[in-house]
């Protein structure tokens, strides 16, 4: 894919994305840190935990892999939220984040900026960057209520739609299975998210609870960011559709995440493993 990003580590037998593992280790680290202290966290703990999220997020955004950076940031934010930080802090950080937008813009790569511009006005570059979004909207819209049927996507078959087996697979799905198919798929995603949140509620100790909660939220962020970009309500960032997009180590990470969430039901006290 190139595009200025250096995301892969070649291990000979397979290529591995180091940033993938961080999607799990970051929330785990913060969850452990918070669970060692009383909740809700105090200023000092908040500051240290913030660093734990900010450093990997910054490094990966610099790589540049905006999609993964967003996922890591949101998994960290989820732990903060579940740890119970006050509404006042949350509100003020949102406000300051908005204020920081111009600074963020300054640090973005040209291709990332182009994606944001394309998102705001896809028609501006119909042959190049806007092509993805225009074509995927046509694919989804022409699917209608019932869809064109399994393997009948003309957009994909006639090669109008790029990256149709990876990041833009939802467009093909929507064209072939229509609104009903999409709603069913969303419902399945909702079930998985609800089930893992339920597990988090029943977890016996703080660490398990925070980690499972955070991983559930991250799973949903995956779904939302991917579908959001394909249907044109979010800018194009490289996030796969979980359990459907073809290939990538992201699938491995995702399944590891499910494993960890399931593990918390089996253990009453996970912390006893390492204490």
């Amino acid at each position: 894919m190139g595009k200025g990003a250096q995301r892969w580590l070649d291990l000979g037998f397979f290529r591995f994305q180091p940033s993938e593992m961080i999607k799990i280790t970051t929330p785990a680290a913060i969850a452990w840190y918070f669970s060692e202290h009383a909740l809700p966290p105090r200023w000092k703990e908040l500051f240290i935990a913030l660093l734990l999220v900010a450093i990997p997020t910054f490094l990966i955004a610099k790589q540049p892999d905006l999609g993964t950076a967003i996922l890591i940031a949101s998994s960290g934010t989820a732990v903060f939220f579940f740890a119970g930080i006050s509404w006042r802090i949350m509100l003020s950080s949102v406000v300051s984040l908005i204020a920081l937008t111009p600074v963020l813009w300054h640090f973005m790569h040209d291709y990332q900026r182009a994606r944001v511009i394309t998102f705001l006005n896809p028609e501006s570059d119909p042959i190049g960057r806007g092509y993805h979004i225009i074509q995927s909207k046509i694919a989804i819209g022409s699917g209608g209520l019932y869809g064109k049927g399994w393997l009948e996507s003309t957009q994909a078959k006639l090669d109008f739609l790029p990256e149709r087996s990876t990041d833009f697979i939802f467009a093909v799905f929507a064209e072939e299975f229509g609104l009903l198919g999409c709603v069913s798929l969303l419902f399945l995603y909702l079930l998985i998210t609800m089930r893992s949140l339920y597990i988090a509620v029943n977890a016996q100790d703080t660490f398990c609870r925070l980690l499972a909660g955070s991983l559930s939220v991250t799973f949903f962020v995956y779904v939302f960011v991917n579908i959001g970009m394909v249907i044109g309500i979010l800018p194009v960032v490289g996030v796969p559709l979980p359990l459907i997009s073809y290939g990538g180590t992201s699938m491995v990470t995702l399944l590891i995440g499910f494993g960890i969430v399931s593990l918390t039901t089996a253990l009453t006290d996970l912390s006893s493993l390492y204490l």
Binding site: F82, L158, T206
Partner: protein, 610 residues
């Protein structure tokens, strides 16, 4: 925070967590709702609109590739242009059974197995609605044969497209370079938008170095098509911007003179205009015809070129590295004068060999019985090796390295071409780093006569000669003049040399050509101007001690390389030339006449133009 003791309160933590889960759950439901609302908007409200977009009226954006810039020589002669050519192209998505179609076409047009394999490779790389060329240069017969039955082959069309044409073919093949099909590695690094619809890219020479400017910018047309993807009308279009035309400093007539002069020899010749740094001629011989490359050269033809003993594809002028041999002597002599180690009139006795103190090895002179007493002038005119063995020893490798590097030896000249070699100017450091050995005194001696480790490219040698002729003001060669005159010129560096010494050396170089004892005396016949030059012979084959180098007995492959550097008119130099003839024997007899022809042609033309 009013809690001073951070005791864990399990109960309140649980309650807090639960409330947060509930909030998250509500947020998730809201976001799901947003997605569904958007889907309803696209799939129900906008359904008809998008269906028409997708099915009835497909808008295809087709790219209009730009026309590649034309390359001219300095007098406006076309070196590379674009000519129409008919190609047979297949659009896979319109062909019901591609394997069947290919078999039929194979019989109809007598296609080779190779053409088919090539095409199948291309097939996997393109999208199915792209038009992929099967045959690139159809002759009239093939066009006619297919035209009759075209209606039986939906999705197969004859396209007229422009292909690159090089009118002078072999003559400037290395320098102008050629274009070829974009390969897989290039495809990955190229901007997909800029190269949409373009099938070829500059591979070597100017075509590669100036790809950016020659290529231009593609335009695009939004074409409305029906369900079978037949174009109905063009909605809007943006014309492509053709690539820039380039005017080289090369004089193709001069290049032709050089090309003809080489006859059957392998080698290279470079001619530079001293006042400007314009490269007038830069020839690597033998050449090759670049035209087949632009239309897709067959593997067989390519292998033939690649495996030829004479290495026609290799650009000797830019990448060939040869020992400079005795052509280095004027530079060494200049170093001797500048460091005040010799005086022009102090003679040295040459017995035909030279020995280092306490070493039995004899460093031979090319003249077995020796030159007798020689002054500096005699040493250059007759190319006495012993004189320079002695001078090199007193100079030492460090001073030799420093002095020669000022003339650009061992460094790239910075010419506007890709893949230039830097040659090799040896030093103590270099030997330590590359061979992990100390520098031996004997190596200094042979460096003094341009043998041993030392290597130069023909281009480098021409630049060094031009610098010498230019009173030591360094020259940066180019094939295209720097864009604007207003651009601040980089300060020309001037080498610190006493002008008096410089004129002594130049006088000796004139004597090489214009006095009977000179190694290139034959050149002085039938010319009405003065040439300053120096012959050189680079050893390919090491002569063992106590043996004699007998040219007749050696196979041509092992004959020495012949070199000649020159500039003219000697009193007010305009052109500098370096010629290398591989296995040409002695520089005076094979390389010098080529240089003379180039110089004569240039001066004749210059007087006509004035």
């Amino acid at each position: 925070m009013h809690r001073r003791f951070a005791l864990k309160d399990i109960y309140s933590e649980n309650r807090l967590f639960l409330s947060r889960i509930v909030i998250i759950f509500i947020v998730i439901l809201l976001l799901m709702g947003a997605i569904i609302a958007r889907l309803i908007y696209l799939q129900i409200t906008g359904h008809e609109y998008y269906v028409s977009q997708a099915n009835n009226n497909r808008i295809k954006i087709s790219s209009l590739p730009p026309t590649r810039g034309i390359i001219y020589d300095r007098y406006g002669k076309v070196l590379a242009d674009n000519i129409p050519s008919y190609s047979l192209e297949l659009t896979p998505e319109l062909i019901p059974d591609i394997t069947e179609t290919l078999t039929q076409l194979k019989h109809l047009l007598n296609l080779s197995e190779e053409t088919l394999t090539q095409f199948k490779k291309q097939l996997t790389r393109h999208r199915s609605f792209d038009s992929i060329p099967l045959l690139l240069q159809m002759n009239d017969t093939t066009v006619a044969r297919f035209a009759v039955v075209q209606h039986q082959f939906p999705g197969v069309d004859i396209h007229a497209r422009l292909i690159r044409h090089y009118p002078y073919g072999k003559m400037a093949a290395h320098l102008v370079g050629y274009v070829g099909r974009i390969n897989e590695t290039e495809l990955k690094t190229l901007s997909a938008t800029r190269y949409k619809g373009t099938h070829s890219i500059g591979k070597t020479g100017i075509e590669k170095a100036y790809e950016e400017q020659l290529h231009g910018k593609p335009g695009h047309a939004e074409v409305e098509t029906n369900a079978q993807l037949r174009p109905i009308r063009v909605i809007k279009s943006e014309a492509p911007i053709p690539g820039k035309n380039l005017h080289l400093t090369l004089d193709i007539e001069l290049q032709n003179i050089a090309y003809q002069a080489f006859k059957n020899h392998n080698g290279a010749a470079v001619a530079i205009e001293i006042a400007t740094g314009d490269v007038l001629s830069m020839l690597s011989h033998p050449g090759f015809d670049p035209n087949p490359f632009s239309s897709g050269i067959s593997t067989k033809a390519y292998n033939l070129l690649q495996q030829s003993d004479r290495k026609p594809l290799f650009d000797r002028a830019l990448k060939g590295q040869y020992p400079p041999g005795s052509t280095l002597k004027p530079f060494i002599a200049l170093a001797g004068l500048q460091y005040a180690l010799i005086q022009i009139n102090t003679p040295l006795f040459c017995p035909g060999y030279y020995q280092l103190p306490n070493v039995s090895h004899r460093y031979r002179d090319w003249k077995i019985w020796g030159h007798g007493f020689v002054t500096l002038n005699d040493a250059i005119v007759q190319s006495c090796d012993v004189y320079f063995y002695d001078l090199a020893r007193t100079l030492g490798i460090d001073r030799i390295h420093h002095f020669l590097s000022q003339f650009g030896f061992g460094q790239k000249t910075g010419i506007d071409l890709v893949g230039e070699k830097s040659g090799l100017l040896p030093s103590r450091n270099w030997k330590r780093q590359n061979k992990n050995l100390p520098w031996y005194p004997g190596e200094t001696l042979i460096t003094g006569i341009g043998q041993g480790f030392m290597q130069t490219t023909p281009l480098q040698l021409a630049v060094a000669t031009a610098t010498l002729a230019n009173q030591g003001i360094s020259i940066r060669p180019h094939l295209i003049k720097p864009a604007t005159a207003s651009e601040p010129k980089p300060m020309a560096e001037k080498i610190n040399i006493d002008p008096a010494y410089l004129s002594d050396i130049i006088n000796s170089m004139i004597n090489v050509v214009h006095t009977p004892k000179g190694t290139a005396y034959k050149l002085s016949q039938n010319i009405n101007f003065k040439i300053a030059g120096k012959t050189g012979t680079a050893q390919v084959f090491t002569v063992k001690q106590k043996e004699k180098y007998e040219a007749e007995k050696l196979k041509e492959k092992l004959l020495d390389h012949a070199l000649f550097i020159a500039f003219a008119p000697a009193n007010a130099p305009e052109i500098a030339v370096a010629v290398i003839v591989e296995n040409g024997g002695h520089g005076g007899s094979t390389a010098a006449p080529i240089a003379k022809k180039i110089i004569a042609q240039y001066l004749k033309k210059a007087s006509h133009h004035d």
